[in-house]
């Protein structure tokens, strides 16, 4: 990582030196330099993460929490150290409130199963129209299992959560949980978390934020936003896949039953019955993703060294530039104009299907995503079957955005 040799005022150029940390950015695709604009699906990995994971397997690997030998103790220390890092990253008041999961989907499913088991028929969960399937299907399953009600808060045509409508959904006091995204993976919309949390709490509900996109781009403080649960995944945060995080308030986690049974989540087991371990281990059955957790720790160290101020400024400048450039492409329409948006831009183009756009961009070495982005109900709300989506990482440059716009102009002329 080399951030300091030249003082630059452009927040996009300020992070240019980081590209050297990402070996994959030197690859070519179809004979052209790779332009990776699909970071919202999964981000590329810096050499610091790659080395940390390889180093763990080369020199300090053993199972954790169960070995009496030095290697196990050392690996346990490394693993548990990441729990401290995560707590610091999101401003959690206690490391015991950090639960490691496989991904944010599992984190949300954990809440749906465990917190959901405390809910009774007649109570309700509120989600929004812009949730992706991971924050929709678990609640449908809970509804079908327990008879709770699932309510959907609408969004505006611009892609903002309709707060007045949300308020009306909370009015009868039967909502137990509001579960919404902190940043949409399709529209880039950043939701007003503090306001949503206050509304939920005033109505006697708890609030869960799906922060998988948000933690990549902005500093998150779970206490400042008033969250009760916060979920995110490691692989979008420049870490490996297979490791995710659920943060929850201690009092809630203590009250909730285990999600899965097995080793490490118990304090005593008899054939007649078992007693559960304290949090967070109550929710971490079985051997966890040891190497991946160490990789997540390296990723957190990396982004903290870069700094969220620099990352957020880079993102804001890139989004502004991209909206301007894409606005110049004939026939292209950016989907959603939320009041506050992150580094995710969905678009459609007259006469060209998103899949054709993605295939032709790929031939230019440009990777974007096309489809419904695991948000089919949102697509229906928008009156679309699919969009193309460009999403940015801290390695994305102004020139890459320009290359996207130029390629889209060519694609446009190819299709008309």
């Amino acid at each position: 990582m080399d951030l300091s040799p030249v003082v630059m005022t452009d927040p996009i150029d300020a992070l240019r030196g980081l590209r050297d940390d990402f070996p994959i950015l030197n690859e070519t695709v179809h004979g052209k330099a790779l332009v990776f604009l699909d970071s919202a699906a999964s981000a590329q990995k810096p050499v610091q993460v790659i080395d940390a994971m390889a180093g763990a397997m080369r020199t300090q690997y053993a199972n954790i929490h169960r070995g009496l030998h030095w290697m196990s103790e050392r690996t346990t220390e490394a693993y548990e150290g990441v729990r401290d890092q995560v707590a610091g990253l999101i401003g959690a008041p206690s490391r015991e409130e950090i639960i490691f999961t496989r991904n944010s989907t599992e984190a949300i499913n954990l809440v749906a199963h465990s917190f959901g088991s405390l809910m009774r028929p007649g109570q309700a969960v509120v989600i929004s129209e812009m949730e992706h399937h991971a924050n929709l299907v678990p609640w449908q399953m809970l509804r079908d299992r327990t008879g709770i009600e699932l309510r959907v808060a609408p969004i505006s045509d611009d892609g903002d959560l309709e707060l007045d409508a949300l308020g009306r959904l909370l009015e009868d006091g039967r909502v137990a949980l509001v579960a919404v995204t902190h940043m949409s993976n399709v529209l880039g919309s950043v939701t007003p978390a503090r306001r949503i949390a206050d509304m939920a709490h005033d109505a006697g509900a708890r609030v869960l934020f799906d922060g998988s996109q948000m933690v990549v781009h902005r500093k998150v403080d779970v206490q400042a936003i008033g969250a009760d649960f916060y979920a995110f995944t490691g692989h979008k945060l420049y870490g490996p896949s297979g490791i995710g995080v659920l943060w929850g308030r201690r009092a809630l986690l203590d009250e909730m039953p285990p999600f899965m049974g097995g080793g490490e989540m118990i304090s005593e087991v008899r054939f007649e019955g078992s007693r559960w371990a304290a949090v967070p281990h109550k929710f971490e059955a079985g051997t966890p993703a040891i190497v991946e957790t160490i990789g997540l720790g390296a990723a957190i160290s990396y982004i903290e060294a870069v700094g969220y101020d620099a990352i957020a400024a880079h993102e804001a400048a890139l989004v502004s530039h991209a909206l301007e450039r894409l606005g110049d492409v004939p026939g292209l329409r950016v989907v959603g104009r939320p009041a506050d948006r992150g580094g995710v831009i969905s678009f459609v183009m007259k006469d060209a299907h998103p899949h054709d756009i993605a295939t032709l961009l790929d031939r230019s070495g440009i990777a974007v995503r096309a489809g419904h982005h695991c948000a089919e109900p949102l697509m229906r709300r928008l009156g679309l079957s699919a969009t193309a989506r460009a999403s940015f990482g801290l390695y994305t440059t102004r020139e890459e955005v320009d290359m996207l716009a130029t390629a889209l102009e060519q694609i446009r002329s190819f299709f008309i």
Binding site: H30, D351, A352, H353, P354, H355, D356, T359, L360, R363, S364, A370, G371, H372, E376, M379, S385, A386, Q410, I411, F414, F415
Partner: protein, 149 residues
């Protein structure tokens, strides 16, 4: 533009102006193919003659250029064929785009380059899935139902 042959002129022409768009009146068989990964949808309607051959056919496709062109060419080639012939063509078409087999009809060779684009193969085979579903569908369709396309 570098597109490695998957958007040949014939494909683009069919995609821009499909000749067999719309479901035929009085369709005796209908089938739908949906790609859950992208939401693309192909609906195929058929009228079979007394010998079980396709007398009329049309499609209503919401999809990419590959999908629309494939549906349209499929409809053209299906005319006059019976179910067994169409199943054989469909299977050969599937082998062509997946494994590089020979084109079952010369017109379908324009889709052969898809073999190098695994993520797009389903776009071309979706109409054929819809056709197979239609052929398996023996229900008589009410006229007013078939007119909605």
């Amino acid at each position: 533009m570098d597109q490695e042959g998957i958007y040949q002129q014939q494909v683009m022409d069919r995609a821009r102006a499909p000749v067999h768009a719309g479901l035929p009146e009085g369709a005796t068989h209908e089938g739908t193919g949906v790609n859950p990964m992208c939401g693309d949808q192909v609906r195929v309607g058929l009228v079979l003659d007394g010998q079980g051959r396709v007398a009329r056919i049309g499609h209503r496709t919401r999809g990419c250029a590959i999908c629309v062109a494939s549906a349209d060419l499929m409809a053209e080639l299906a005319l006059g064929c019976d179910g067994g012939e169409l199943k054989a063509v469909s299977a050969a078409f599937d082998r062509m785009v997946r494994d590089g087999g020979a084109a079952p009809r010369d017109e379908l060779a324009v889709f052969a380059p898809l073999r190098r684009h695994r993520s797009r193969i389903r776009c071309a085979t979706l109409p054929w899935s819809a056709l197979e579903t239609a052929l398996a569908d023996g229900r008589q369709r009410a006229t007013d139902e078939s007119k909605d396309g």
